[in-house]
């Protein structure tokens, strides 16, 4: 299992979700992508997309106004 990070801090939607979709393609099955963002709308976008795709996903607020979205590729 490998962990890859995607830094989207300071980016506005829809950029984080576009980058996530691209990055997910390069991951191997079982890898985890961590999307770092300070945009709450992107947290929703990214995690909802993963949920609807049936991927395990978790969100954590690591600091006030900063989140990490964990997605496992299946």
């Amino acid at each position: 299992m490998a962990v890859q990070r995607l830094n989207c801090v300071g980016e506005v939607c829809p950029k984080p979700v576009i980058s996530t979709l691209k990055k997910m393609k390069s991951l191997a099955v079982g890898d985890v992508l961590v999307v770092e963002t300070d945009n709450i709308a992107s947290v929703k976008n990214v995690s909802e997309w993963a949920k609807k795709k049936g991927l395990p996903v978790q969100t954590e607020e690591i600091a006030p106004g900063e989140w990490e979205v964990y997605i496992e590729k299946k």
Binding site: M1, G10, C13, P14, K15, N45, W49, Q58, P64
Partner: protein
């Protein structure tokens, strides 16, 4: 829960999280004091409370028109657009009720029934372009400033310049492009029952079409 995610979380370095609850309490007390101070002017106190609650709901729901529409195209997730459709649905019923009662009692048509024309399309296109570049719609901009998203302060400055400039020259635009366009109020064209029925039927149709579209995309 996924084991891979658990492992990835353990790996991540953690800074200490600041507790913002005391600040929240201070802001809440401040908001209540301001509301009480403006209580004699009922409209101001009411606007203050409604405005704050509106912002709170927007932030909690992270309801953003921009991400709603961009989601629709990029990922095919329609939940935000469907939320907007539901809001218009509820708003339509409430507005129809208010308009109907005030129209029959005082013969005044409340709400802004604006002229429709090419200017609507051009304006919508400009707004959409600006929204994507700025990364938020107008309510989203204000909400995100409250969240501490600094970029939006720059957007707010542009927003203010645009709004003031638009207001200054509105007369000219109105005379040249808007004055000739027809203002259509559906209930006056086809009667109240049919107008409300068509409005709600179209919204319901869009809602289910969006659901079908989402099923196809995922």
């Amino acid at each position: 829960m996924s084991e891979a995610i658990m492992a990835a979380k353990k790996e991540a370095k953690r800074r200490k999280k600041k507790n913002q609850a005391p600040w929240g309490l201070v802001v809440l007390i401040f908001a209540i004091i301001v509301a009480l101070l403006f209580l004699p002017q009922k409209n101001l106190a009411f606007s203050w409370v409604i405005g704050l609650s509106f912002g709170f709901v927007l932030q909690r729901a992270s309801l953003c028109f921009l991400s709603g529409f961009s989601e629709l195209i990029i990922t095919g997730n329609t939940s935000l657009v469907r939320a907007i459709i539901i809001a218009i649905f509820i708003g339509s019923i409430g507005f129809a009720f208010l308009q109907y009662t005030t129209l029959t009692q005082t013969s005044v048509l409340i709400g802004y029934v604006g002229p429709v024309g090419v200017h609507t399309v051009v304006g919508a296109l400009l707004f959409g372009l600006g929204m994507v570049i700025a990364g938020a719609c107008s309510s989203g901009t204000i909400m995100r400033i409250g969240e501490g998203f600094l970029l939006q302060i720059v957007v707010l400055i542009g927003f203010m310049i645009g709004a003031f400039w638009g207001a200054r020259d509105y007369g000219w635009w109105h005379d040249k492009f808007i004055a000739g366009a027809p203002a259509i109020h559906l209930p006056q064209v086809m009667g109240w029952p049919l107008a409300i029925f068509i409005q709600l039927a179209v919204l319901i149709f869009i809602y289910f079409a969006l659901l079908k579209y989402e099923e196809k995309r995922f």
